[in-house]
């Protein structure tokens, strides 16, 4: 959002010759530095562009734009800059970890990275399942074709605008080209900022394609063809995300799939929930399956159990803003984390209606069925069809099963607001 806005404002500054827009662009670019680390490269690309444009055109207007941009940027970035001056080690913690220059054969790695990033639009995209359906090109074939058309047009007719797009495109690749991590290039996340110039260049490409088709099609035919192509692109991209992503099994490993499913199940209703067993926060898939494509690029991300627990609580929709984080964490509202033993003595629970969630466990399931034949038991399956959780919903108990005293089991000792009574 901030990078697009900074480019947009800079464009307006160039077109209208008004430096106030360059000043605003600098402010927005400065704000972007308070987000993702890669914003440093975005800002650098804009500075390089202004410097280059000033050197090439040698016009006072560009110089004014450059000064205005630098002023806006400096104002916003000053606190961050002071902080980095006071804590120099903090500045490069993450970039040092990922730097390609940590490796002895960095030149070969950079050469490989350049090649793989060049292919990412058309042949083989990012392979890390969080960022992409592994291997899927980052552009659909039609958009990629138009992008190439736009790129050629921009190179053949370079003005200030085209220079801006090409500079930001090239420089924002550096985050990917000079880094290395286990999934291997292309690093589509670290080069995400190229999205803005890429699709602006697609706009240039569309202009070229329409100009070419206008030579042999009438205006009406041209419009029909353009709209048809656009609808095909939209449908294709709909499939590339909503059709492929549900099959992205590697994403289950690299993302917090199970806490997400658990939290959303709890959020389904307002029933008290018993989450049973410590193993509920152990990921089912602790290793990448051998022989699967891109398995090595997508090792499981094992989050600490307390983070999984906190994620489950926050996703459950039962986080109470009036309470502190610690208060919400222990105990959360109407969510009870218990061991199976606490229910074993008398599974016919006292707090009704209630929902119980546990890892597939025949003993608990059998005990629940014996004590409450009316219990509704169902399974939550992952996208491979494997059962990851069992859900038992117990309705209101028959009169004969209602607790006589508060000592009949764990559940009876827990009041409705989650506090032991």
């Amino acid at each position: 959002m901030t990078f697009a806005l900074a480019i947009g404002l800079l464009l307006v500054a160039l077109k209208r010759a008004r430096s106030v827009y360059a000043y605003l662009s600098g402010i927005v670019a400065g704000v972007s530095l308070y987000s993702y680390l890669g914003a440093r490269v975005c800002v650098l690309s804009l500075i390089v562009y202004l410097f280059m444009e000033g050197s090439i055109r040698r016009e006072r207007t560009i110089l004014r734009h450059g000064i205005a941009f630098a002023t806006g940027l400096s104002l916003v970035v000053l606190p961050l800059l002071c902080y980095y001056v006071a804590h120099p080690k903090v500045y490069a913690v993450r970039s040092d970890e990922l730097s390609v220059f940590n490796s002895a054969d960095w030149a070969a790695i950079v050469a490989g990275n350049i090649w793989r990033h060049a292919l990412m639009f058309f042949i083989r995209g990012g392979v890390y399942a969080r960022d992409n359906y592994p291997g899927l090109p980052m552009l659909d074939p039609l958009t990629a074709f138009v992008f190439v058309g736009g790129l050629v047009a921009a190179l053949r007719r370079i003005r200030g605008t085209e220079r801006l797009l090409l500079t930001t495109l090239l420089i924002n690749f550096t985050g990917g080209l000079f880094s290395i991590s286990q999934e291997g290039a292309p690093y589509v996340y670290r080069t995400a900022a190229v999205i803005i110039p890429v699709f602006a260049i697609v706009g240039l490409g569309l202009q070229q394609v329409l100009a070419q088709t206008a030579k042999f099609l009438t205006s009406g035919q041209s419009k029909v063809a353009a709209w048809s192509a656009l609808l095909i692109v939209i449908a294709l991209n709909f499939y590339l995300y909503f059709g492929l992503e549900p099959k992205n099994t590697a994403a289950m490993r690299v993302m917090a799939y199970e806490p997400h499913m658990l939290g959303l199940e709890i959020a389904q209703d307002d029933l008290p929930v018993f989450v049973i067993g410590r193993d509920i926060f152990d990921p089912l898939e602790a290793r990448a399956p051998v022989g699967k494509e891109y398995a090595a690029a997508n090792p499981p991300l094992i989050l600490p159990p307390e983070i999984r627990k906190l994620a489950t609580i926050t996703f459950s929709g039962r986080y109470d803003l009036a309470r502190t984080l610690t208060q919400n964490f222990q105990p959360p509202r109407r969510i009870y984390f218990v061991e199976p033993q606490a229910l074993a003595s008398d599974v016919g629970p006292k707090l009704r209606p209630v929902k119980m969630i546990f890892r597939p466990n025949r003993e608990i399931e059998a005990a629940l069925r014996t004590n409450d034949p009316q219990a509704r038991i169902r399974e939550i399956q992952n996208i491979r069809g494997e059962t990851i959780f069992t859900i038992a919903t117990l309705g209101n108990p028959p009169l004969s099963h209602r607790p006589q005293s508060a000592s009949q089991g764990y559940a009876a000792r827990v009041s409705d607001d989650g506090n032991d009574t």
């Binding site: 993450r94 007719r157 900022a193 697609v202 706009g203 656009l230 692109v233 994620a311 926050t314």
Partner: protein
Amino acid sequence: MVDRFSLARGNRPVGLLWFERSGEATVDSPRKFFAVPFLIVLFTAGFFRFYKIFELPLGPSADEIFTLNNTIALLNQPFDLFGHTPLFVEGWVETAHLYLYFNLLVVKLFGVGYWTMKLFSVLPGILSCGLMFFICRWIVGERIAFWAALIFATAHWPVRVSRYGWDVSFML
């Protein structure tokens, strides 16, 4: 306007054109703001970013969870935009306080939940589509800008980034 469609550049090598001292392109400045195409772009972007948001992507990334937790932690502190160090967490996920205050606004409006955590990325993602329309209007004019922005709003790459991207979506 017409000369922009021409691909002919004589015998000059393409690379040297980079340093040509040419001014701005001759596309007319868009004079008035067309609300209808802009709203269509935002609506399409919203559909592609909200549709099945609880199911896809298959879960949150670790960084999204940490960002939500950091935002919640900030919730219990008094509001003081200038009373913090710029970075909330140093190192791996170098979350900045300014970004967390943006998230805090979302949390205040929508509460804490999976949906809210996704809004941290989805809202800037939708706005980026509107901005793409705005950028392309200045480069290629209103009509083609509309098509380019629609492609951007629906392309799977930006859609992915908007649906899981936490601070990268804010940056874009």
